[in-house]
Symmetry: C2
Subunit: 320 residues, 2 copies
């Protein structure tokens, strides 16, 4: 009861926009435990107003710089911006080159911007869940736009981006076909393509490649009537940043006008329930290290039982 009351006071302070309370709530949420869950349930009920934008691209694509520019542009339009950075190489996480970090610091001194770096996996579960919990906190605390910055590789990252209303995929010229191929999976989930470093002479090829890919996808039958745009940008001269902000806002307006926002929100809910279920299962399995599962695991190791059969058994014994 005491924990619940403390959580209530903290959540109330955070929802009223108090910066210190938001920071403390985010730390509590990342630590996990029953009190965190109580807080998260309160937060979740109050969230849902923010435009959640996923920004993804491989390291070196310039997505952090673009995220900072987007944040500044939205601030100039009077909107409050939350940033959740998942990429360990992001300057938001303190992991990158000095010049970038200085620019981020300028941004972080603006009280209308809240930057949170997801350095560690939360105790309650995996990276994607901890990240989306942080997004809920910033959403409920009144940030109009919440930017999730994530490196565009791996299932966790794809899960995060799938939980955004609008997904911006950042590509850069000259990164090499190998690296581009790794992120092939993420290209398909783009609502908007941004091409960075368009002051470079080889940017035209990257833009043409993306447009070619989109034309093929459209010919194969698009599931939405939204036409995925390719926006050229340049951090060097600020080109395209205003257009990118406008495009991102247009995408939300499209979702709302077309009614596709309902479909998207159902998808996000499904995605989040599934991710949570997987995390619960993983936690229980790990907690069971000395329990009933150990015998079954020993049988699997001895090749007496197939992992699939053991897994069915494990799931079947989960009662609430």
């Amino acid at each position: 009861v005491a924990a619940r009351l403390a959580a209530t006071a903290l959540v109330t302070a955070a929802l009223s926009g108090k910066i210190a309370a938001i920071a403390r709530l985010l730390s509590r949420v990342e630590e996990g435990g029953p009190a965190a869950l109580t807080a998260l349930e309160m937060v979740y009920a109050h969230a849902g107003s923010a435009h959640v934008v996923g920004l993804t691209g491989v390291p070196g694509s310039g997505k952090s710089t673009l995220a900072a520019q987007l944040a500044r542009q939205f601030r100039a339009a009077g909107r409050r911006v939350g940033i959740v950075a998942v990429d360990p190489t992001s300057p938001f996480s303190g992991g990158s080159i000095l010049g970038d970090r200085i620019r981020m610091n300028e941004l972080s001194e603006d009280p209308g911007v809240f930057i949170r770096s997801m350095a560690t996996r939360g105790a309650l579960g995996g990276l994607s869940r901890a990240t989306l919990d942080a997004v809920d906190v910033l959403d409920a605390a009144g940030y109009d736009l919440v930017l999730i910055e994530t490196v565009g590789v791996g299932q966790d990252e794809v899960d995060v981006v799938r939980a955004a209303h609008t997904t911006v995929v950042v590509s850069a010229p000259g990164l090499g076909d190998d690296i581009q191929a790794v992120k092939a999976g993420i290209l398909e989930i783009a609502d908007v393509h941004a091409v960075s470093k368009c002051d470079r002479s080889d940017a035209g090829r990257t833009i043409a490649d993306l447009k070619g890919m989109l034309a093929m996808a459209t010919a194969a039958g698009a599931t939405s009537s939204w036409k995925v745009p390719v926006v050229p940008t340049s951090a060097a001269n600020g080109e395209g940043v205003a257009e990118l902000c406008e495009t991102v806002a247009n995408h939300l307006a499209f979702l709302q006008a077309s009614g596709e926002i309902e479909v998207r929100q159902q998808q996000i809910a499904r995605q989040r329930v599934l991710a949570a279920a997987e995390n619960i299962l993983r936690d229980r399995f790990q907690d069971d290290a000395k329990g009933a599962m150990e015998e079954l695991v020993a049988d699997v190791a001895a090749r007496k039982v197939h992992p699939y059969a053991a897994a069915r058994d494990f799931i079947g014994h989960q009662e609430m």
Copy 2:
């Protein structure tokens, strides 16, 4: 019963080493379904003799070329080699440059080598499960060494590598700190480090960086008495390939002599049961698209129920 009989005949033929039967069994397994599961249970009981070696590294690290050289070296020692390639950019998957592909083709004409590319996610579940099922098939079919080649990013890939007896992480000079940081998670699970392209002048720095990292890890307290070696190699002049083969074989000998093989096999079994459980859950959740979960998902989308609470509910209703 008919399906079970057909599966039995196919498995028997594959276990006796018939190449066509192995290929057909691998396709069946990838397709999934109840017949695949019957076959997999038979296969699993007969597997367990092969040395399973994970070879991982980012695109451009030269791991495919190294995998081919390793395979040739083990063949020269009279051992039968299976290769399961998960990387979509791997030449084993037909996705890379011509020179590499020709070298792979030479290898694939050797009846003592079986190459399988995991192009798609299996119907029974995720990539890591389908990959490990394929490893079981090659193991049971009598290949002495099964090499899993996987790109070193993402949770799926880490899961695959965690299921190997010996994990070789391939690093290349000059790939850039950003990319190296992405694979930071995988560096920790290396049993052996291979540095490729050691004919390059900047290879010394990569070797020194790895050794420095290992020294720090040792100072922090190693969990095994195995001293992780750093093996310099060069595809250009064949340097280090024999040493790498020897080191990989030494690692298995160490596991067996120290008794750590038991611990490793328990870990692998745990890992596989958990991965299977997650896949079962994911499949059931997806199958339920029009079922009982939809109401709960709608409540989550409407922010009446937290995803975590919905997930607990979903797991609690799983009975076998």
